[in-house]
Structures are given as C-alpha cells and as structure tokens.
Subunit: 362 residues, 2 copies
DNA sequence: GGTTAGCACTCACCACCATAGAGTGCTAAC
DNA sequence: GTTAGCACTCTATGGTGGTGAGTGCTAACC
C-alpha cells in the first residue's frame, strides 16, 4: 500500500532521502534505534523533531525503516539500505597513504601465490573491520601448459599439470604395472606434446582419435599406449572438474571482526553467521554471479537467500580479465555496515588485483 | 592442602574412583551438574545418596570436582578429567561396520591429496560430533625430487618443485631479462641434475661451490649461470621456509559441532572457542609436540595454555613414519567430551592414515 | 499548505520481592 | 562406616511497579 507521495515527483522527496541517509549513518555508528531527536541534534536538519517524526513515519510507510516497538527509534530495513547503497555508487576509496601501504605489502608477497589471496582477504578485513574474502582468478576453460610425471614408487606416480595462468594441479596416479622414471618421462613427454595448449574437451577428442589409431595397430607399444590413455583420461577428468568447480577456493580472514558486532551478541545469531561463512557452496554461487556480471555488487540481508545469511551483507567486486580469468574480492559484515567505506575499499583492492593480474598475461 | 586419605593405600580408594567416573560420564551426557541422587539412581552404586555425598566432598577436597554453587551438583575439574583419561588408555574403537565404511570412503578419494586430509578431518568430526583436525604428513627435511620451470610470460616463470613424498611447491620467479621456454628448460634441466635428492642445506653448499667455479671462469655462459644461481637460491629459501614451518596446514571440519555444545551458549565463550580454532599458531605448536612425542595425547582445558582454549580439550594422535614424515589427526571439543570414544576414534583414524602413508614409501 | 509545540500513550527495561525447588552439609542414630 | 532426616543455601522463575525514551496525534502557528 503506497501512500501520499509529496512535494517532489519521485516517491521520496529530497528531504526524506537526506533523513533516511542520516538514520542509516547514525545507526551504523550507534548500533541502536535512532530517535527523531538524535537526528535533529546530530545532523543539521533545520526542522523540529516533530517534523522529522512525520518524515520517519512516511519512510516507514514506504518500507525503508522499521520500529522494534512503539516507543523505540527507527531502524533501517534491507530496502532502506538498498536505496542508500544505490545512491553512493563509487564509495570512499582509502586515503592515499593507506593505498601506498597496501601496494607496498603486495610487493612484499610471493607473486600470484596463495599468500596473495590471503593478503587480499586480510587487507580487506583490516580496513573494513569485517570479514575479508578473496578467490584466486580462475579461467573459464583451463588450458594445459605442461604435463609432467614423477615416480613416487614403482606403482605410484605424481601427475603434475601446469595450466596457462601458472596454476598447478597435482594428483596421484596408480600405475597398473611397475614402471620406472624413464618410462614415465617418455609418457609425460608424449602427453606434453599432445596436450599443450588444449582444453579438457580438445584433449578428450584428441585422445579419442589416438585410441582409434592404436586399435588399428599404431606405432606405439600397447603397454605404453595404455598408460598414455590412462593418464590422459585422468587429465581430462581433472580439468573438467576444475572447470566445473564454481570457485576453487574462498580465502577469508577476520571472521572474528564480524562476530564482535553487537547484533551477534546472542549466540544463536553468532552461530548462524558462522554457518553462513562455512557454507562455501552458497558463497561460491554469489561469487560466481559477481564474476559473471563483471561489476561490483552489494548483497543485503534477505537478498542473500539462505536463512543463515539474512543478517549479513556482502560487497563483492570482480577482478581479472573477462573471458580469460576472473576472481572476486569482497567483504562480509553485518547488514549495519559502513557501505560507502566498504564499497570504496573493495573497489580499490579489486583494482589493485586487476593491475597485478595483468602481468600474468603481459 | 591434601586431606584424609582413606581405606586404601592410594590417595583415592576404589569406590571414590568409580564415583568420579560416574560423575564424569553422567556430566558428559547431561551437561548439567550431577547430584548425589542422580548417581545412586542411574549407576548401581549400592549405597545411599548421603554416602555418595561424603565421597563427593572428598573428591572435591582433592580437586577433582567442583561446585558451581552450594545447592548445585558436582562438575568435574580439569584434574578430574585428567585422572579419568589416564585410566582409559586405549579408548573405544569404532564398531567394525563403521571401520569398513571409513576405509571404503578413503578408497574413493584421490590418493594423498588435499581431499585425503579433508576427509580425515570430516570423518573425525562426524564420528565424534566435535571438530576434526588433520595435517598432511610433513618430512623433517624436505628432499627435492624434481625441478621444473615453465614460462608464464617472458619476464615471469613458474618454478615447480616436486618433493620426495610427492608434495609440490610452486612459486613465481621474476626473470631479470626476457627468457624463452627453451632457455628455461635448459636451466631447469641443470637445476634438476644439481638438486635431485638434496635437502635445502645440501643444495645450498653445492650452489656455493658452483658460484665459486663460475667466478673463476666456468663452462657456462655468465647469464645462464646467473639465472641458475638466482633460481637455485629461491629453491633453497623455499625449502628452508617449508622445513621451518611447524605444520603446513591444519585442515579442520565440524567446528559447528563444537559451537552447538550448551556450554558455549553465551556468545563470548563461543567467540573464544572460535578464536582458539583460528589461532593456528598455537594449534600448530600442540600438533608439533604430538608429532615429536609420537604418541596419542590428550590436552584438557587449562592444560592448553592460551586463554581462549581453557574450555576445550584436544585429542591428538600422530601418524606416518618417525624421522621421515609425520602428520597429526585429532579432534577438538568441549572439555566435557566423551573421551573414551574420542580417543578410540582418533587412534583408529591415525592407524588408518598410517597404513595409507606406508604406500608412499613402499 | 507545511511546521511545530505539547501531551497522552506505549512499551522495554530495571529493580525488587516472593516463592519454589534442587541439592548440599551436618548431625545423630543405626 | 552408613544412612535418615533436616536445616540451610542459592538459583531460577514470575510477578509487580516505576522510569524514561520515544512515538503519534492534535491543535495552533506561519
């Protein structure tokens, strides 16, 4: 039931928007319902508390605010936060001093390694006092750069796949018959030739053809050929799994920051937040959505479908090169979050990651 | 202040021990202070509640039990749990059906991969309804099995180290001058020759000698030699770091199980448990102690020094081959834990991991 | 028309008290 | 050494009244 639009063409006049903004900013710092008087005192609104009350009632009618109970102040709803967030697009970037410090820290760290993503997560956590999240950049369809086989013992070998972006997959292969390092090296060389530059599907078809040739009496010894097909099959399967996996890993840091927020003083809420963070499947889906969309997104409270996440918000930004490899960085905090600061910080870090990733494709 | 030892030579007579055991077992299931009457009703003690009360008072004087307040039942102290744990050495292994199921699950999983340790952690978590922990087996001094270099772009290469046990280390190397894959392959081959089978220290001295030879006019082109020394140095450093790291990774699962325990209903306690689990440094130290000692150990409440951990207990068991590679599996739960079950389960899983690891050295 | 002072009303919060019940410690009898 | 019995202690529960914050509404004001 929409009601009395007033004074301006939009559903919400300018003053109402300013007051909504004030309520949110006050609530973000105080964590307590905001009264009309507090708004008049702390924000130069130039009207009396009675007038503010009228506007607050209006904002509540539109669904942007609520009331815990009759004699309490106002609290923003998810819709209120949403409206607010839409109005701040860019956010507040960290001050230049901090930007330099962060750049410096990234310079200190092993390039493109796990440490990189841990650092991104912990930087975000530190700057926003929320939980920081970071996922490695992942290509859409992995391409093989190098195949290697190392004998662990005569029935067990370690298969090493280097992908185009430098990531590595390793797995153990049980050998059907005792095989020494020399034989393995030969097989690895064949596979390296065969697979270099290919995706899972391309390698799959090429192996298929090879198998046909072999059946009609190819050049190779049958035992060698069997091994090539065996290991090749494993490679294809591993790559397919990797491609299918939404997001390989979500590094997180600073969960304790979130848990210290007063809204999680009741232990069941605390538990739910924790469960939300553990639920990597869902987190992965959000992350994927952001990676696909290619723009910074904010998920607020109930917009994050699972029940555990209704009291938290996420700010996620993609980085990397669309079509080649994309990762996501972001923060997770209580819905009562300093959005401009969070958005600005996440954008800055994603920009930084962007620059850094470029070198991988230079 | 020790007091009135009675009836038997030891500080605690047989009946007192039985009652202590009963208190603990009752408390473990009920999570509430145990009254003298509950003990008489549920455990066939053959005496009246008044007699039990006398014994309880005695046990309290010895420090094995406490009182939350005058009119409450008894609760075991850490010392009480300790005495109890000392008396159950072996613990209760899982029933054969479950043992078979677990073995089967391990069979389904990628050999010696990350999944292995995740599975160990989640199996332990599931069986004990606590948090499960597992660390990969880590050698005392890593030995190189294989060195490889893959060009990412002309100024950036991926350095791949395969260690003797099949674990892999990967790092990025910035190249001082543009270098193509062919040159890299040559350098990698030289390093592979040079480093195979060596530890960090051994490789370090060998590189030192090489540098001397080169200074006095060696066979190689100086640019090649520089690169070999550069990359060689990185290898030595990486290996040293790896050796120094107490424990590479602690996989954990089922933290939510622990958080659901009623003793963590207050959110600050919950937070502390969570902080304890996050504090990998300390967990690492305990794990290392167990790896060194080579036997299953139980850490109870205050015995786990940091303040966050005073309300949790750990059961940790080593696996692997002493002197070659050792890892640790275990569980973390509230001090009010079903110790016999936890100990038995942890021992079973560590035994299983032992068997599995043996294949790596077969 | 919008704005504002004033006031009645609502409701969470707190302190206070009384009661009930659980479980002990002690004493005296067995 | 054991036990029945009882006084005692302390928590937990629920009800009560007062306080204060903050609203919503009305009527006057500009």
């Amino acid at each position: 039931m929409a009601r009395r639009p007033r004074r301006s063409s939009g559903p919400l006049d300018f003053r109402a928007q300013a007051i909504l903004r004030a309520v949110i900013e006050e609530y973000v710092t105080s964590a307590a319902p905001v009264s009309s008087q507090a708004l008049v005192e702390r924000y130069g609104l130039g009207v009396s508390s009675a007038t503010v009350r009228n506007v607050l009632a209006e904002l509540e009618a539109f669904g942007y605010l609520t009331h815990p109970h009759t004699s309490a102040g106002r609290v923003p709803t998810d819709a209120g936060y949403r409206l607010y967030v839409e109005s701040i697009a860019e956010g507040e970037s960290p001050p230049p001093v901090e930007q330099r410090m962060i750049r410096h820290q990234f310079g200190q760290v092993e390039y493109a390694s796990e440490h990189w993503f841990r650092l991104a997560a912990s930087t975000l956590a530190g700057l926003t006092r929320s939980a920081g999240l970071a996922t490695p950049a992942k290509p859409e369809a992995a391409r093989i750069r190098r195949v290697d086989l190392v004998a662990i013992n005569e029935r067990l070998a370690s298969l090493i796949l280097v992908l185009r972006e430098g990531t590595i997959k390793q797995l153990m292969v049980n050998l059907p018959a005792p095989t020494d390092q020399a034989d393995l090296a030969a097989i690895a060389a064949r596979l390296d030739d065969l697979a270099a530059g290919l995706t899972a599907d391309e390698l799959g078809t090429r192996l298929g053809r090879l198998a046909e040739d072999a059946a009609s009496g190819g050049a190779d010894e049958p035992r060698t050929m069997d091994l090539i097909l065996l290991v090749g099959g494993r490679i294809v399967r591993t790559l397919r799994e990797f491609d299918a996996a939404v997001i390989e890993d979500v590094f997180s840091d600073g969960l304790l920051n979130v848990m210290e927020a007063p809204e999680f003083a009741q232990s069941d809420k605390l538990r739910r937040v924790f469960a939300a963070l553990e639920n990597r499947a869902y987190l992965g889906r959000l992350v994927e959505a952001v990676a696909r969309a290619g723009v910074t997104q904010v998920f607020i409270g109930h917009e994050n479908l699972p029940a555990e996440m209704t009291e938290v918000s996420l700010v996620l930004a993609p980085y990397g090169q669309p079509g080649r490899a994309v990762g996501v960085v972001g923060v997770l905090g209580p819905t009562r979050m300093a959005y401009p600061h969070a958005i600005g910080t996440v954008r800055f870090v994603s920009g930084l990651m962007n620059e850094l990733v470029e070198h991988l494709y230079a």
